[in-house]
Amino acid sequence: MQYLLLIYGNEEHFGKLTEAEQNGVLKEYGEFTKSIAQSGHYRGGNELAEISTATTVRVRDKKRLVTDGPFAETKEQLGGYYLIEAKDLDDALAVAARIPSARWGSIEVRPIVPHDMP
């Protein structure tokens, strides 16, 4: 079963770290990604650019509405994600708990609903 692990955190937190600390976090992420690739969990994942780069689009009455900013303003922002294959929720939670940001941010674990490609 696949799960999407959504990494939420306060963007400012990362900005306030020293360069050495930032490099430490990046290195930790690299090691984590490698480890879940080796264990067979990894299906994909990316860091997202800052929330200030977000654009939201809606179509109403066939008209496209484009606005600056994220869908919802929140104290913690979606900063990245992993797509994993896990045996069950416990397995997914164990992987999520090892994401470095889990120590200062939050990881939302969402099961993926499978659909066949039409």
Partner: protein, 331 residues
């Protein structure tokens, strides 16, 4: 022996096994009800089977497989077909296993840990535990928690949906997660007991039943996981408080303070059992909030005449205990 009593005592176990065999809470509940209905009809005529539980599990299991087979005919998904093949293979295997007592207790432990999974909202954990392990009806649970019936039914449906859709596993957690997960289980038991113990609301019969169910669950956990001292402390805590039930409320329903209680009304057998459990739990290293509260309850139970100035040791314990949420017995 009657079917109703078997339902009361065995439905938790039977359901636990059926959920493992059929892989679905809803289907397991449905076929268990059907099996009991069949028992009500057949047993009085043909006599009781030697092993009623085995009869019920195997009858329900056959019904479950039939039902899945029928559904599959309409909806022939590959996954469903594969699941069905597995089930049929399990069928004979399961009937053998069922007669081995250890296999069955594993099922109940699985059910406890799944119902009390921290990924479920606390109210749902409590409701699901009472529904599946204790066999209370949705209506009884709704009445016990003063929640409208549709709200409670919805809560149970959502919890079962999450178990299915997020794939909360039906298993006893591995050793390294056991302490953390057992805490979640104990919290549920503690809340059930509290709800039954606090004299604030609900009707008396249901409250008494909640206390009894909490104690039953507490015993079950101690029996299934004998090495866990903290859960022994929780059982002791419940036994000690429950032992004062008869002395705690006066005729008009008002609460009688500990100092003024008629101690002849205490259940001394329960007090003794509780004291023994506290002692062995603390000696075994239990030092969490249940152990602390149980130790306080033990002090209360032992003091012949409780004075207002009960000594700073007890007060210190109580202050340390202030982090704990709801403690109606500290009145």
């Amino acid at each position: 022996m009657d079917v109703e009593r078997i339902y009361r005592e065995e439905s938790g176990r039977i359901l636990a096994t059926l959920i493992r065999l059929l892989g679905s809470f809803d289907l397991a509940e449905e076929v268990m009800q059907e099996a009991f209905a069949a028992a009500l009809e057949q047993w009085p005529k043909r006599g009781f089977p030697d092993n009623p539980r085995a009869w019920l599990v195997s009858t329900a299991h056959h019904k479950g497989v039939d039902m899945l087979r029928r559904r599959t005919r309409f909806d022939s998904k590959r996954d469903e077909l594969q699941r069905l093949a597995e089930l049929e293979q399990q069928l004979s295997e399961a009937e053998e296993n069922m007669l081995r007592p250890d296999g069955v207790s594993d099922d109940r432990l699985r059910l406890i840990f799944t119902c009390c999974h921290p990924a479920l909202v606390l109210e749902a954990r409590v409701a699901l535990t009472l529904r599946t392990l204790c066999g209370l009806t949705t209506e009884e649970i709704a009445r016990a928690f003063l929640v409208p019936l549709p709200t409670m039914a919805q809560r149970l449906v959502r919890a079962k949906q999450k178990i299915r859709d997020a794939k909360i596993p039906y298993q006893v957690p591995p050793k390294r997660e056991l302490t953390e997960r057992l805490e979640a289980v104990m919290l549920v038991v503690y809340l059930v007991f509290n709800e039954g113990y606090s004299a604030s609301s609900g009707d008396a019969a249901i409250r008494r039943e909640l206390c009894a169910e909490a104690i039953r669950l507490g015993r079950l956990i101690c029996e299934l996981l004998p090495g866990e001292n903290e859960s022994h402390a929780l059982l002791a805590l419940m036994l000690l408080h429950d032992s004062r039930r008869a002395a705690r409320v006066a005729g008009e329903g008002e609460v009688v303070l500990l100092e003024e209680q008629n101690r002849d009304l205490w259940d001394h057998e329960q007090v003794r059992e509780g004291l023994g459990l506290v002692e062995s739990a603390v000696r075994g290293g239990a030092a969490g909030s249940y152990a602390l509260q149980a130790a306080i309850a033990a002090l209360h139970a032992q003091q012949r005449a409780l004075k207002r100035q009960t000594g700073s040791r007890l007060l210190r314990s109580m202050r340390r205990c202030c982090g704990c949420s709801h403690r109606p017995w500290l009145n």
